[in-house]
């Protein structure tokens, strides 16, 4: 976790000691404390003296090293490379001057400030690089130059100036930069930007800006994005990241120029997340031909000319520059390297994989990913021409041995491992997760203790099971059921992800003893927005209630009652309280509540309150008198199951009344609620005699459109058949449109239809309907045909009816039906030749 080894080298051109190396050495037996060693050389390999300083705490290490560097500077030493770079600053080659200026900025030695300002005064083509370096060096004397550059029209110079002003912390200069950037915004975006507070992140404001961005002209969209990024601030940066992560075609004309500018700005600001978003998109776009040719206006001379946009050369340049930036970070700002590299790795998604082909694997063509994570993987071969990494041989798929490290700058990862937690929390690619997990468990086992609650929560939903395991272990370690971390629980409970809330519920269950006797916490958990949490909390409270003191139960009952009698803040918020009231506190509530209050709950309360009221009402037999049977019948048809159940209980207690007037119960048999219907059926089967309703009642049951009521009606019809007028019953059933009842009626008719022409002719239309039904029911049709045939054979008048019905049906195209009908007709004709029939027509 701490810095080890050589941290700084310094150089002096003259004297007996020309080289100095400052290194950090751990102190054996004193963990967390180090010493600084200064080694002096005449030249490399020729040591002339060593000094040791310390011991120091690791926290004060940076300051001590800076002090030592200042002392050595006083002796004439400068940071290694500075002198050479200063010399090259005067090179006739503009490229060399630019590169040396940039290097000076990275080295960070303020000795370079004056030479750089002198160089800037000459206004060579390397001016942007000089200004950028001055910004990195952070010397306030460069502020006037930076401000002047920030006011330029040319994008590269304006960008360098604006970013230098930002880096120098020049508040007044930054205000000017911001004002100019706002003025550059298209009108719609400018108005939208002025309407929001850019200094704070706000999701709604971000959505508004996104909407405005979407409506802008394509040529203005990314221009405004660059200007917003120049303005900076949480809202603008969030908008830029979101837009860039959503837009897959950043490489198109009018977009790429500004995307590239944002990328450059992000490296100057060391804004890892924005850098990662663009770097990932460039990597993905480089996989297939993406360049276009368009006529665009040059930023340099303002001329419009045909230009290749996002060419292969550009792609290679940008990708390599991105890695070079990371290398510089690793060398000069190691703490930043791991942060930015972690952001890049976390930006990749599983869908960024490609199908392996030949010696290429899933990540072969993702240059930056390979440089950061697999640079020292001996199984792979890097091709600098096309920036791909391929498998050396077929054996390359064999897993690496334990302890083998493949990432770039392993010592930097070891010195600054905090971003590994970022990877564990936010990386979506399993290999990245594996890398982070391996690093943490092998070298930084104490790291999870530093994880924030949010990081821990995110680790719980990681794609790598071992990461989840790690998070759970840390969660278990942190969570003490006897002294729960309520703040952590709050974070878990308020998370959007269901799986996290499930963990919260599990933890809440573990520490239930700590809150099920605390009314405030009960109210909070049972009234939580999450349904699972509400339900579990209610169950835990119910489990704890039997052992609770009487006063506590009473207090809780009053509190629950108060909540149930009030308005429901959101749908379902009363559910848990209703359960507690119904299943755990009914005794206490019955003691507190009068019948009027219960009825008020049923009439006006929330759905949950109605449920609670209904369950309480069922245990009040005196309610029968007060409510009256009609009101109870209406309650039996209520939408609330508990209210219906209480009505059932009350009706069950007033059987004597129902016996006197069973028609009241009859209304319930056709209720839309199954439980009420079945309750009515049970009463009609048992204590209340349905026969008292007579034929009208039983036919009324059969007349229902509900199958279960019809079935009950059929059951009653058969049970009381002997006491009913069978002819009338059949006549009525015959009018039912349901095929089921018709089948029942056919069976009854075949078995019980009275003898004679009158009874048969009354059902003629019914038999016609049974035969001419399009839906096939062969058994029913056969029964009807045979029945008609048999009845027709008994006398001539019945033969007329049968011949009429069968004569029409015989023209059916159904072979079996036709043969059956024809057979019946022939028999009837043979028996009664004088009866008119369709036989002639059929023949």
């Amino acid at each position: 976790m701490s810095v080890r080894g050589t941290v700084m080298r310094m150089f002096r051109p003259t004297g007996p000691e020309r080289l100095v190396a400052i290194s950090v050495e751990p102190l054996g037996g004193s963990p967390g404390r180090v010493s600084l060693k200064v080694q002096r050389f005449f030249r490399r390999g020729k040591l002339t003296g060593t000094e040791a300083y310390g011991p120091f705490a690791e926290a004060e290490l940076t300051g001590r090293i800076a002090d030592l560097a200042d002392d050595l500077a006083a002796e004439g030493f400068t940071r290694a490379g500075v002198r050479a770079m200063l010399d090259r600053l005067n090179s006739p080659s503009a490229r060399k001057r630019a590169l040396s200026a940039l290097r000076l900025g990275w080295i960070g030695d303020r000795v370079a400030v004056d030479p750089l300002l002198d160089r800037a005064a000459l206004e060579g083509t390397e001016l942007s690089c000089v200004v950028e370096s001055l910004g990195r060096l952070g010397d306030p004397t460069a502020a006037p130059l930076a401000r002047a550059e920030a006011a330029r029209k040319l994008l590269s110079r304006r960008r360098a100036g604006a970013e230098a002003v930002r880096a120098l912390g020049d508040a007044a200069g930054m205000a000017e930069v911001t004002q100019r950037a706002v003025e550059r915004l298209p009108q719609a975006m400018r108005d939208a930007w002025k309407a929001v507070d850019g200094s704070a992140f706000d999701e709604d404001a971000l959505t508004d800006l996104e909407a405005v961005f979407a409506l802008l002209d394509v040529k203005e969209q990314f221009l405004s994005l660059d200007s917003l990024y120049e303005i900076g601030g949480p809202l603008a940066v969030a908008l830029v990241r979101r837009v860039l992560s959503v837009h897959a075609d950043i490489h198109r004309p009018h977009r790429w120029r500004y995307t590239k500018s944002i990328l450059r700005r992000s490296t100057l600001r060391d804004d890892g997340e924005t850098f990662a978003v663009i770097a990932r998109r460039v990597e993905l776009l480089s996989r297939k031909p993406a360049s276009t040719v368009a006529v665009v206006k040059s930023g340099l001379d303002g001329q419009s000319r045909q230009t290749r946009v996002f060419s292969t050369y550009t792609q290679r340049h940008v990708r390599k520059t991105a890695w070079r930036y990371l290398e510089r970070l690793a060398r000069y700002r190691p703490a930043k390297y791991t942060e930015v590299a972690a952001a890049v790795l976390a930006a990749f998604r599983p869908e960024d994989r490609e199908l392996p082909r030949g010696s290429s694997d899933e990540w072969s063509r993702v240059y930056l990913y390979n440089r950061i994570l697999r640079r020292f993987d001996g199984r792979l071969l890097f091709n600098p021409k096309n920036l791909t990494t391929t498998l050396r041989s077929a054996k390359s798929t064999i897993p690496l041995g334990p302890g083998v490290r493949t990432e770039s700058f392993p010592s930097v990862w070891d010195s600054h491992p905090r971003p590994l937690l970022t990877l564990l929390a936010s990386a979506r690619v399993i290999e990245v997760q594996q890398f982070a997990h391996r690093s943490v468990t092998a070298r930084h086992p104490e790291l999870p203790r530093l994880a924030t609650a949010k990081e821990l929560v995110d680790m719980l939903t990681a794609v790598y099971p071992d990461t989840v395991e790690l998070a759970l272990q840390e969660l278990d370690r942190r969570f003490d059921p006897l002294n729960p971390d309520w703040a952590l629980l709050d974070v878990l409970m308020s998370d959007e992800r269901e799986v996290i809330r499930e963990h919260a519920v599990a933890l809440l269950t573990r520490c239930s003893d700590q809150w099920t006797h605390d009314i405030e916490r009960i109210v909070r958990f049972v009234g939580a927005p999450d349904a699972l949490l509400r339900s579990t909390a209610a169950s835990l409270v119910l489990a704890a209630l039997p052992t609770a003191d009487a006063w506590f139960r009473r207090e809780l009952a009053e509190r629950v009652l108060g909540i149930l009698q009030g308005p429901e803040p959101a749908e379902g918020a009363h559910d848990g309280f209703a359960r507690i009231a119904r299943d755990g506190l009914s005794e206490e509530l019955n003691a507190i509540l009068g019948l009027d209050e219960i009825l008020a709950m049923i009439d006006k309360g929330s759905t949950a309150a109605k449920v609670a009221g209904g369950s309480l009402l069922g245990s009040r037999p005196e309610a029968v008198e007060l409510l009256g049977t009609e009101r109870i019948l209406a309650m039996a048809m209520s939408d609330i199951a508990a209210v219906r159940q209480s009505a059932h209980a009350l009706l069950g207690a007033s059987v004597a009344r129902l016996k006197a007037d069973p028609s009241m119960l009859f209304a319930l048999t056709d209720c839309e609620w199954k439980d009420t219907r079945h309750f009515a059926f049970e009463l009609l089967r048992g204590p209340v005699d349905v026969a008292a309703l007579g034929l009208d009642g039983i036919v009324g049951l059969c007349d229902s459109n509900r199958e279960d009521v019809q079935s009950f009606g059929r059951e009653m019809a058969l049970k009381h058949f002997d006491s009913l007028d069978s002819a009338e019953l059949l006549q009525r059933l015959a009018e039912h449109p349901s095929p089921v009842i018709r089948r029942f009626a056919v069976d009854l008719a075949v078995a019980h239809l009275k003898e004679g022409f009158v009874a048969l002719s009354r059902l003629e239309a019914f038999f016609r309907r049974a035969l001419l039904d399009v839906l096939p029911d062969r058994r029913e049709k056969r029964l009807v045909v045979e029945f008609l045939r048999d009845r027709g054979l008994r006398d001539e008048r019945q033969a007329e009816v049968a011949s009429r019905v069968l004569g029409e049906f015989v023209r059916t195209r159904g072979k079996a039906d036709f043969e059956l009908a024809l057979d019946a007709l022939v028999r009837l004709k043979l028996e009664y030749p004088q009866v008119e029939s369709m036989l002639g027509a059929v023949a």
Binding site: E351, P399, N705, A765, L772, P776, E808, T812
Partner: protein, 562 residues
């Protein structure tokens, strides 16, 4: 056009042990039409209304399969595949397999546990869908109280079927009072369910009244309002049906068992490949045959279906599954008249239930619906000139009598049969009258709530006839105006004229249309050598060459008359 429906009450049927009360709430924005009576044969009415309902809710248009679930499954497979790409070791694969199987078990348990919830949710969605559908999209049937009958008219959901139930007053034991007029009735699936409970052994009180049955539940409101964006095409659909009904149609009388055989066959056979037409083979003096493609199964109609036309005809119609909406009324039907217009043209089924007449008009095929399809049957008829005064006079006469034949109304107006016919045609075109195919009479039926005024009459007359306003009609005028029409043969026949001619089209080529028209200029049959006619026949209306030939014919008739 936003049409407002306001119901002071709710349509409801209350069935007691001995009585049934049918209360149909009418649109209070429309005419105060009402009817009160007691039904003699409620089961017949029940069956007819059940069929009307099955037409209203029917949708036989092609709906592609919902592949969302399949696509989600494919995405899941892709995700799994990509997630597994990084796991190369056997051990990892085995572990994944075991975890997957464990997850499958847990998933199944979760599904089992949540089954009641899913069921309840599905029921809730169904309830919401039904209610919202009825509230927002279901166009309530148009009901008209005539002096001799009640009529209910509606279109199917796919707008390819039109149904009309005409209930004669003979169905009622007793009629207390009624006021003629046209309005809408509040119609819902619940009402349909309640209709099924009508029985002849219960005295059935039947009221059509603005308040319906004002029996709101405690705490609930019986007041109901709907605002439906009535498509103009829907109105046009009504007019198209009228145009088709006044065409010269081939009529066949079949027996209920014939329709039973057709429906039974369709129920049992589903064609998976084309052709899928129902082919009518008509040979003079012989019984009509219906052949089902592609099986070529022929069903011969009964003795009453002997074709009496002059020459053999083969007519193919599509969308035959729509016939199943008639299945319910087959057992109660006494006779059925089928009216055929031609191949790919509409078919009209007139089912006589005794006191009730059920009319089902099917468009040529399901996608060629009445309301938005390309069929322009109004082009086939020809409208003669009628002044606004003549129009108003005819409308007044029709309003006074509520119904009448062309000749009967001409006696009242004193305009002569031809003028009256033209005026009636105008009134049909503007939705003020309808033609009752079963009764052979014109009836007053106001499709719009606003009363008919002189202003509207002037507008109707000034507006060009469909045959002139349509692109084909305008081209025909141009052709005729430029002298491009040459009648090569004209032969008087029993029902009008047979014509053939040579027409120089707007493209400069000559075509040879042949035409059969009645005395009023209504096209009975037509063919042409142009590509349009070869492709569509008359299924999308006549081509400009046929219309131009008719113009030439009518011009010559007028010249001869002069």
């Amino acid at each position: 056009m936003i049409v407002e429906f306001k119901y002071a009450g709710q349509s409801r049927i209350v069935s007691g042990l001995r009585d049934t009360h049918v209360g149909l709430a009418t649109n209070s924005v429309r005419d105060p039409a009402f009817f009160r009576g007691t039904m003699g044969s409620p089961t017949l009415f029940r069956e007819a209304m059940a069929s009307l309902y099955s037409v209203v809710v029917s949708d036989y248009k092609f709906h592609p399969r919902d592949r969302l679930a399949f696509k989600a499954w494919l995405d899941e497979q892709d995700r799994k595949f990509l997630a597994n790409l990084g796991n190369r070791t056997e051990q990892a694969k085995l572990r994944i397999e075991s975890l997957e199987s464990r997850r499958a078990v847990l998933d199944q348990r979760r599904i089992d546990r949540l089954k009641p919830f899913y069921r309840a949710r599905a029921e809730f969605f169904e309830w919401v869908y039904t209610h919202q559908y009825e509230l927002k999209y279901l166009l309530d049937p148009v009901i008209t109280v005539h002096p001799d009958e009640l009529s209910f008219e509606a279109f199917s959901k796919d707008e390819s079927s039109y149904a009309r139930v005409g209930v004669k007053y003979d169905l009622f034991e007793k009629i207390d009072e009624f006021a003629c007029g046209t309005t809408n009735i509040d119609f819902s699936s619940t009402l349909h369910g309640e209709l099924d409970r009508m029985r002849s052994y219960r005295r059935t009180r039947f009221d059509i009244d603005p308040s319906g049955l004002a029996m709101a539940m405690e705490g609930g409101s019986s007041h109901k309002e709907k605002k439906i964006d009535l498509p103009e095409s829907w109105v046009k659909g009504f007019l198209q049906v009228q145009s088709t009904m006044t065409l010269g149609l081939t009529r066949l009388r079949i027996e209920p068992v014939d329709l039973y055989n057709l429906c039974r066959f369709l129920k049992r056979h589903k064609a998976r490949t084309s052709p899928r037409a129902m082919r009518w083979e008509l040979v003079p003096g012989k019984r009509a045959r219906v052949v089902f493609e592609p099986w070529e199964t022929a069903i011969e109609m009964g003795a009453s279906a002997v074709y009496d036309g002059p020459k053999p005809l083969t007519i193919r119609t599509w969308g035959r599954d729509r016939l199943s909406t008639l299945a319910r009324i087959i057992p109660t039907a006494q006779r059925i008249d089928v009216f055929l217009a031609g191949t790919g043209l509409p078919t009209i089924w007139l089912v006589d239930l005794g006191e009730i007449t059920f009319t089902l008009a099917l468009s040529g095929w399901t996608d060629n619906d009445w309301t938005s399809g390309a069929g322009r049957f109004d082009l086939l008829s020809r409208r003669m000139d009628a002044s606004p005064l003549e129009l108003t006079a005819t409308w007044d006469a029709l309003k006074a009598q509520r119904r009448g034949t062309e000749s009967g109304l001409s006696l009242v107006t004193g305009l002569g049969v031809e003028k009256t016919r033209s005026a009636l045609s105008y009134l049909c075109q503007v939705g003020r009258a309808m033609y009752d195919l079963g009764g052979g009479v014109y009836r007053q039926r106001e499709l719009f709530p606003e009363p008919f005024t002189v202003k509207e009459a002037i507008a109707a007359v000034v507006a060009p006839a469909p045959s002139e306003a349509s692109p084909a009609g305008q081209k025909a005028q141009t052709i005729f105006g430029s002298g491009g029409v040459l009648i090569t043969a004209r032969r008087p026949v029993s029902n009008g004229y047979k014509l053939s001619g040579s027409v120089k089209g707007v493209d400069g080529y000559r075509y040879r249309p042949m035409l059969g028209v009645d005395a009023a200029g209504r096209i009975l049959e037509a063919t042409c050598t142009c590509a349009w006619s070869q492709k569509h026949g008359l299924t999308q209306g006549p081509c400009e060459h046929v219309l131009a030939l008719r113009l030439g014919h009518m011009h010559r008739l007028e010249a001869e008359g002069a």
